[in-house]
Symmetry: C2
Subunit: 281 residues, 2 copies
Amino acid sequence: MAGWQQPPYHFGSQLLSWLAPEHIGPVEEVPVSVPDGSTLPMEGGIVGRSALLRQLHDARALIDKHQPDRLVVLGGDCLVDLAPFAYLNERYDGELAVLWVDAHPDIVTPEQFQHAHAMVLGNLLGNGDADFVEAVSRPIKPQNVMYVGLHDPGEWEAGEMERLGLQNVGPAQLAQQGSKPVLDWFKSTGAKHLAVHFDLDALDPAFFRSLLFAKPDIAEGTFDDIAQEELKIEQVVQLLSEVAKVADVVGLGIAEHLPWDALAMKNMLARLPLIGKPNVA
Amino acid sequence: MAGWQQPPYHFGSQLLSWLAPEHIGPVEEVPVSVPDGSTLPMEGGIVGRSALLRQLHDARALIDKHQPDRLVVLGGDCLVDLAPFAYLNERYDGELAVLWVDAHPDIVTPEQFQHAHAMVLGNLLGNGDADFVEAVSRPIKPQNVMYVGLHDPGEWEAGEMERLGLQNVGPAQLAQQGSKPVLDWFKSTGAKHLAVHFDLDALDPAFFRSLLFAKPDIAEGTFDDIAQEELKIEQVVQLLSEVAKVADVVGLGIAEHLPWDALAMKNMLARLPLIGKPNVA
């Protein structure tokens, strides 16, 4: 899985920002070093641990500067929602509900896996690496979390989900029952405020292909053992529209946007005669 | 082939502009009506003929305003290169050479096909609908044209190519012989100045998918009878880099950029809670 650590997340985030509707309110960008091709070090069981902690604290400082009631996060990998959702749960007195639209549960610890993007919901629940958990002064209540789109979790993850009591509406259930199970869950929490984590890899790559697992030139079979896909964009839009009628949506994070074609085009244009920069050719 | 006339070419052009390297020099945008879902009328054997002629004359007026020595065109369908290449051949006294990187020859007339984007090189050579040809005061010399990437032309097109003496380096020949046949051709023309038409549908959709024929949700078989693909981005970059060492590249047109994922993302963001505009949901 070479290259996982430094795919073009930064570019994906910039493109999201360009594609987003016009808006009012302040915008901040968390500084992230431009990938230089070097391998991030393994530190205390987590790849790039110190760089990620630095980004986490930078993100929190930018949020605290504005102390917003609502915020949108354009990532980046799944870890981008750690500081914002931790903040929102403090802002709403520990009563935040969280809809986690994702193909993966994101609750592992360094004992199972060395990449922090797969740990972020675990951290928000108060579990995992001590320095990441320290950024979550009020852990989110497990009963206030609902997965959408999760399927085929690993054995350890399935056990941990059961231990914590984390609920899931999988792709098949969403297709059959629509938004009702999610609306029922939200009502059951008693929460008023909701944050939505939307990992784009929950989408079916046959219809949306700007995804890590849909990289055009990877060797066949590279990601065969990783849960992928299943939701259609229309299903997610429909679900979130209905949820927004009963919940005050105060957070939305878009993660894992990897626009391969746009990046290929940008790199190509930079190398073509006349339009490209001569020093790039 | 419903929907061909109005796919998101306008958006594709805007994204190209965002992806392009920074540059100096003036920028102009040819006004194009935003698609309103209505069907363009068939006029004199060409769909949307009057609207296309208006755009053609608008484009020419914008070029004449600046009278540039060189120009880049970010399309748009293939027809975007008609006014610029006609201008450049006047500017360089009828001696312009043209490299036409495309899966299709673009030389049909209204007798064979009703869409003008497939007629543009024919028009530049002085053939086809009189009002389009009138925009070409100095037709390009057929021997000054080289196709790259063309394969499987239709029977009428193959005959017309032979009649005109249009040469082609197909995908297989490019893969085997590299840039040499193109460099040899350019030398044989005696030309100093070169314009490059790059129809992205010359690229293999397995690696670059922002193409008409790679639309994610089309019915299987929709485009089975249309020549597609074959070139890799790297091959085109390599070829054009080598050509630029012997030719003064004075024109570059990028056509047929249809970024399906980016468009799907833009439309989705506009409909999501918090980030979207409420009146779009």
